[in-house]
Symmetry: C2
Subunit: 329 residues, 2 copies
């Protein structure tokens, strides 16, 4: 299997991307890694030369602040676009990037291309839960407006992902809603509900965002707008509470002492909310595997993304999605 | 001014509702309070008989689990419906209920009635912020689907509410979105943006739910579905973190000692997230004032709702909304 890695994407590129790719190449001899980007810079960072790691030159870079569609269209030799083209042309089976999320979604759509029958690919990150299992949430922003049929496809793809990549037997799929009763919600959710009921998934009905950290489901299906609101509220609330907590803990000498006692427990707890720990988010519904690593990824996160890609490829995630969508037509 | 109070609504009705009404009657001699409900039960709870408090008998009760529309239609002598009718017929200027939220919205729509020109009344609770100022959020669930024109009316009503009831000079109004740039979001938000730009309000543009606890705006406009997702994610995350924190704090004898040191500071901080502390939520766009108290309201919360109603009536909130909507036509 060949995995293309956008060496120029992310806050700490190319150094940590190269470091992560080197570690992955050494760990998994069965994976051939294609590091795509400025070859001079990459070569300078390569402290070793494992035989399963190749450098592919790309002269341009898509920046974090670039307008996604324009950047992908104009920067034809950008590392991200070249990596997408390698997947498109069968030179690579998967690609990983920690770069501009919007540009990566555009690369997926315009360069890699959709699975026949999939109307809208979906971005599917993991949301952490208190029991450590996490919930795969999709769509979280690839499409702002969704139809009930889009939600049905998200549900099927999310379920397959958790089976194939996380080895789950019958992943429980919930529909994000404002109450658990069947006829709750807006027109979109009311129309999606019966479609999900009849889908080849283990549908557990409507679920509420109030319980997401205690989720009793493995996949949560939502439109990109509401899903994004949910994720950002969750992140913002957790950050604000931890920051206010820190102020409380450092108020006096006595509270500082108390804080020292609590520190180990609190750190472990806070880490649970650290989004860099939760793996790369797949873009589902494309003809090749595309993984989005967090912009602030460190070398370990990049290596973990390679592990994820490897598992998905070993279990033919993309093929399973294509087959299921074809059967459903 | 006359304020009808649904004595039978809420988790602790009628006892704490009567207690709160008694306290309010004694504090504000200019307000005549009409306690609506089972007169025998209410009379038995009246430890005093202030001259500005009257009991109005209603033989039925809308329960928390009743289906809202059916309950309001069938239980014509329910305390909530009778209170609504008092407002409709000019026998009361405002009503307060801690009962079934859906039924109260239905009572507002079907019994009290809309201001001419208002298509959809909106439920507008306060969301707490770290600086204590809070944000008025609307709509938070009166309508699951909204049009751009609905959002425009929410923006105008929310702005007037904060002027009239909270004495704000130029309340800052934000539009809930997934990014702050002007053309972000789904079709609804993209269509609403230019309408809000031209409205007679201090529009500060798109705002993100990530920053809600640090809000630099006074009103947040959203559709009922996304708003509800935001509020429930916020509440659920805060509750889950506090509960996990409690587990950490009680893990060992040493952490329990540390917790004792931190307790006063943490309690004040936790209280900020206590939704019963943040007043009653107005239902805006009706021909009379309707306030929803939290289901778990205590006597103090009921008394505070009377204070809120009094301020809104003194400043002619309903008249101001009606005038602005008429002028905008």
């Amino acid at each position: 299997m060949r995995i293309a890695i956008d060496a120029m994407g992310g806050d700490h590129a190319p150094a940590i991307v190269v470091e992560g790719a080197l570690a992955a190449a050494k760990e998994w001899a069965d994976a051939e890694l294609l590091l795509v980007g400025d070859s001079a810079k990459i070569e300078a960072l390569l402290t070793e030369r494992p035989s399963n790691l190749r450098v592919i030159h790309a002269s341009e870079i898509i920046e974090a602040e670039d307008e996604p569609v324009r950047a992908v269209r104009r920067k034809k030799d950008a590392s991200m676009v070249v990596a997408g083209r390698l997947v498109k042309e069968g030179e690579a089976d998967a690609m990983i990037s920690a770069g501009n999320t919007g540009a990566l979604m555009t690369t997926g759509l315009l360069v890699v291309g959709r699975v026949p029958g999939i109307e809208r690919p979906a971005l599917a990150p993991m949301i952490p839960t208190l029991d450590g299992r996490g919930v795969l949430a999709l769509d979280l922003g690839a499409n702002m407006d969704s139809s009930p049929e889009n939600l049905l496809q998200y549900a099927i793809m999310g379920s397959i992902y958790r089976s194939k990549v996380h080895g789950m037997d019958r992943p429980r799929v919930g529909l994000l809603n404002i109450g658990t009763e069947a006829m709750k919600g807006n027109e979109l959710m009311k129309a999606a509900y019966p479609l999900l009921e009849q889908a080849p998934i283990h549908f557990v009905g409507n679920v509420e965002s109030r319980d997401i950290l205690h989720a009793e489901y493995d996949v949560i299906v939502c439109d990109g707008f509401a899903g994004n609101i949910m994720l950002k509220t969750l992140e913002g609330t957790a950050l604000a509470i931890f920051s206010a907590l820190k102020t409380e803990l450092t108020r006096t000498t006595l509270t500082k002492l108390a804080a020292a006692v609590l520190k180990p427990g609190l750190s472990a707890f806070k880490e649970m909310f650290d989004y860099t720990e939760h793996g790369a988010a797949p873009l589902l519904g494309l003809t090749g595997l595309v993984l989005k690593s967090h912009g602030s990824s460190d070398a370990k996160a990049i290596k973990n993304a390679v592990r994820q890609a490897r598992t998905a490829l070993q279990n033919d995630l993309v093929g399973a999605i294509a087959t299921e969508i074809k059967n459903g037509k």
